[in-house]
Symmetry: C2
Subunit: 407 residues, 2 copies
């Protein structure tokens, strides 16, 4: 069986853990009804379904969670062909199948519940809470126009349920990090000067396939591989015409998926001995590593994400570098970029995400970078889980470049 | 390399074929500007990007196609880390990168173009044209409120570009069908009575993995495997407690993905000799096969999808069976359910899809079923491509059950 897929028993366990979190989360956020409204989720997925539904649907489907006197009730209204799958999960208080159209069943159910609000999966700030398509929003306003004034964003619910990693989830993410480093080490032993970026990426792909793993993000850009000094590192495709070169660096950004959960780590190699490392690269790497340590020491529940970003960003500027052009870190889970609160600056493109409160059980990357004048970009990326009092690295952080040379 | 991914050269070819179709499609539909507005497409994908962008993005991104004096211009506004990837494609007249926020660049570009309409990817009827999330719709209305009155659905553009299979696409889909049948035949040789549905599915999964293929839809439900007479066939998970049984059928619905394109075929086995087949199953299968042939003969460009559905549906009712509770067929492409016009009845849940005009180059399934009183459901699923005057099967249609017995 391929390791990139979540075995049914583990998925069922995570779904149970998440359903157990829901009454507290909905009560805390004063939301008495959450409606997931979807169709053909293999084309237009709603990522929140991973935590509370756990399979795909074809026909228009409504998954409704609502509180009555503090107790959670759960209804699935699905096309007749999806009904057996939902019944088989034992997650729902009622499964209502339909043949011709969902409209009257959904409208009646909403009238039965008569909630104060109906939380829907849309968000201007947070893509991970934005699974409702605009077309389905319009469909819903036609089905139940009398409820439109009660629509609110389900962002607080989705963020909480997605961010708050259960024990089962954390165990899988740690394993993803361990395997990522195992593959990094394996590829290290094959590196030499004169190799193409594309060929190095192909070797990573082989190791991933051999183990039956998936990719944390699009395979063509995973790992990102950068052997060229002139290249703007990031989500750039590897090229045939950039070769590993004596006295230069190699850089990757690599994430695998196991049992549906992701890793996301950056590593750097240097072609030459440590004693041959240009001073500029030595200084840049020291600053990056120190920025990571400072950020990790700053993280604790109750802070806002931008406060942690600031620690790393200001340190890097103090050391004479340009500030990095992105956030310090993002959450990781079923996606490499898992949404929710981030460790980022208060820039328009990040919306409200950097203001969200850091909570125990969240998993973040820490990935500062600095630009050198003559040797390209230097960066590393580590992953941490927030604890009650601070954070812990999910895999031993790297302490330096990996040096490639033959004696 | 895994066969489930589209090699770069083939993807580039398909992107060029699709970009070449665009001026005609936009002119035909009197739409002078099409805007794809997305972010973090690995979480919230817009499936239209497969045909005209061809990679994922992280930051808020706008891909704009606009006509000036009949000539097509193409602009990509993307986050700085996505800019090199877009430039590298050679598809865009201009790539505009940004660091902090897309807002002013996008607003200015729309004012430059000053289009009559702005076609956006939303649709109440068609999920495959509904890649714009409601959150991103709200973001856009904040960025450019002065253009809201010009927003229209991009459905006609997306349907045309997605449905009208290029030669490259058709070649890949045929290969997907061929391999699907190859695997069906291979599994046939391993079938015997007393096997669990779950174990049979696992053997299909092995064959798919071995070949490095992907799945047309969610792996857990692919193939759907039905050995139980009492089971409502469809998108139902295989079960441990249903075993293949002497004198009963086995049924699958199986689709693989190669180079990003899908197959979707249903096949049936009978455990026993043809001479032992119950009359009820004989009759049901004959009706299903004849319904498929009649539908295939009816298909031609210019008809509406519901007219073809009607041919099969009425024939089945005439033969004394209940009508099937779904559409006769859907389009197949990068997804098994590829959206666009369908061969379906005029039921509310199908919206306008069955009224769309059938066009040359579209690929459809034909999948009627009938319910027997004592032997469960009987159905088959074939795939056809619409030609100038009718249609052609993409793989030789099956003529009967596959009989499993030992002499």
């Amino acid at each position: 069986m391929s390791e990139s897929f979540l075995p049914r028993a583990i998925k069922a366990k995570i779904l149970r853990e998440k359903h157990e979190q829901l009454p507290r989360i909905m009560t805390d956020n004063d939301i008495d009804c959450w409606l997931i409204f979807v169709r053909e989720t293999s084309t237009t997925p709603d990522s929140s379904m991973n935590f509370v539904v756990g399979s795909e649907v074809v026909a228009q489907s409504a998954f409704i969670f609502y509180l009555r006197a503090g107790q959670l009730f759960k209804t699935a209204i699905v096309g007749n062909f999806d009904a057996d799958t939902e019944r088989g999960k034992g997650l729902w208080d009622e499964v209502i199948p339909y043949e011709l159209g969902i409209d009257p069943l959904l409208r009646n159910k909403l009238h039965d519940i008569n909630p104060k609000q109906i939380a829907l999966n849309y968000s201007t700030d947070d893509y991970s809470c934005d699974g409702l398509t605009h077309g389905m929003y319009l469909v819903l306003t036609k089905i139940a126009p009398e409820f439109v004034s009660r629509f609110v964003s389900a962002q607080p619910i989705i963020n909480a349920i997605r961010s708050n990693k259960s024990e089962t989830e954390l165990g899988i993410i740690k394993e993803a990090c361990r395997i990522t480093e195992e593959i990094n080490d394996q590829i290290t032993s094959t590196l030499a000067i004169g190799q193409r970026e594309t060929d190095i990426q192909a070797r990573f792909h082989q190791e991933v396939s051999k183990r039956g793993l998936g990719f944390s993000w699009q395979r063509e850009q995973n790992p990102a591989i950068d052997a060229g000094v002139g290249k703007d590192f990031g989500h750039v495709l590897p090229q045939d015409h950039y070769l590993t070169t004596q006295g230069h660096t190699l850089h990757n950004d690599f994430g695998i998926k196991i049992h549906g959960y992701c890793s996301d780590l950056q590593r750097m190699w240097f072609f030459g001995k440590e004693s041959e490392l240009p001073h500029e690269l030595r200084h840049a790497m020291d600053v990056v590593l120190e920025a990571i340590q400072r950020a990790a020491k700053a993280i604790k529940p109750g802070l806002q994400g931008y406060e942690v970003d600031k620690v790393a960003r200001e340190y890097i500027i103090e050391q004479g570098y340009e500030e990095y052009k992105h956030g310090l870190g993002h959450q990781v889970g079923i996606m490499a970029h898992d949404g929710g609160g981030m460790l980022g600056p208060l820039w328009p493109r990040y919306g409200n995400s950097p203001r969200q409160i850091i909570e125990e059980g969240q998993v973040f990357t820490i990935e500062p970078n600095v630009k050198t004048k003559n040797h390209g970009m230097v960066s590393m990326e580590e992953m941490v889980v927030v604890t009650a009092t601070g954070c812990e690295f999910l895999v031993e952080p790297r302490k330096d470049f990996i040096y490639i040379y033959s004696d």
